[in-house]
Symmetry: none
Subunit: 229 residues, 2 copies
Amino acid sequence: MKPYVLIVEDEDALATLLEYNFGKEGFETALAMDGEEALLLASERTPDLILLDWMLPKLSGVEVCRRLRRRKETSKTPVIMLTARSDETDRITGLDFGADDYMIKPFSMPELFARTRALMRRAKPSLLEDIIRIGDIEVDSQAFRVKRDGELIHLGPTEFRLLDHFARHPGRVFSREQLLDAVWGRDVYVEARTVDVHIGRLRKALKRPGKSDPIRTVRSAGYAFEGVE
Amino acid sequence: MKPYVLIVEDEDALATLLEYNFGKEGFETALAMDGEEALLLASERTPDLILLDWMLPKLSGVEVCRRLRRRKETSKTPVIMLTARSDETDRITGLDFGADDYMIKPFSMPELFARTRALMRRAKPSLLEDIIRIGDIEVDSQAFRVKRDGELIHLGPTEFRLLDHFARHPGRVFSREQLLDAVWGRDVYVEARTVDVHIGRLRKALKRPGKSDPIRTVRSAGYAFEGVE
DNA sequence: GAGGTCCGTGACAAGTTTGTGAAAGAAACA
DNA sequence: TGTTTCTTTCACAAACTTGTCACGGACCTC
């Protein structure tokens, strides 16, 4: 489950360079060549970070950023503006209308990665870590293992992805449909109730006599995972 | 309540300048002259943002940042490093060990404020989440929870939506029809008196022996929700 | 203070949502 | 290929919600 970066850049050379480098660095990427496409792609799948060119066809970077901020899903997504301009006024404007950082072209890749990691760590610390700890449970999504007190817990692949998803969004309530999208995949037809069965199995696997259930059922809404207090 | 900024800077002139400017800009400030004092002040009251000099007596800025990140309260507090060095390696190190941004001295105040605002805008809502507080009651519409004094209050879905609606419009009187529209939905046929029953159930759930009823009945008009004084 | 209107609430039946064991395929593995 | 594990669906029970009603009390008007 790689972090997903949306690159919005109309210069072919730079776009390719960015895609190549981010791919190599372990990110999943998507490329939008203009502002409208950027908004479309961002709504199709919420990116974990957006690289946004200042000058764009159709919609300017400023306007794209403003609209992204208005949408609930992307209101907190980190945005790094890429700008050729260098005067201070523009920079401030860039930050003030909702971008989180900016880079002035030409910039160095290592620095861009550093800023990317810094912003991602803030927005979703769990994205960059291989091992996610939640409560007393350790989820190692690289090694596909789950541990508690050093004890391995065996899970089926689907249960694992389900737990992994929950662990990355602790406390948040997901509807069955959202879980199907995130864990099973966007275009798989599976009964919503199937989620219940897997939740049940996950619960059984994580259950411990004394402790309370880390998975909370939110009646008529879905499920949420919360570390045991 | 003003945002609280911790300034960690050992150069007298710059420290004073920062305190003065941030004060003028509407921030509450505290000043630490070395790394140890910084950690002490940060633990006394969690800042909303930290300005951290790279070179410090006793503990370096890097080390201070690292330790701040280890503490639960400050693990997500935005940190802006102030550095005199300008070579790229240092910058990256700075961002990679946990700082959110950096400024190279000498920097411009307007730009520092822009970055400050950008980071705070990101950090603040995450601290407050989508929790509405009304009186002593907390309504978390993201997590579908209601709390008072840390105690969870269980509500059925309809009661929850009802409370949520009230919490978003404190003090306002709603007719039964308005409540049906807002909570049940525009096109649901339900008796107006049903609202009464749910109000009753909500009251029972929120009731506390000593305190007064937060829901006010407005005879022949409807109901209003008011925090308890 | 009589009569009418409005409101609070316990009871309850109907409806909805969730938990779960079992069964039948699918898929992985060896 | 045969075995084992995993996934999906189904069916049913259990748990929980909900809308309505009926009754009694509160309040208002004249």
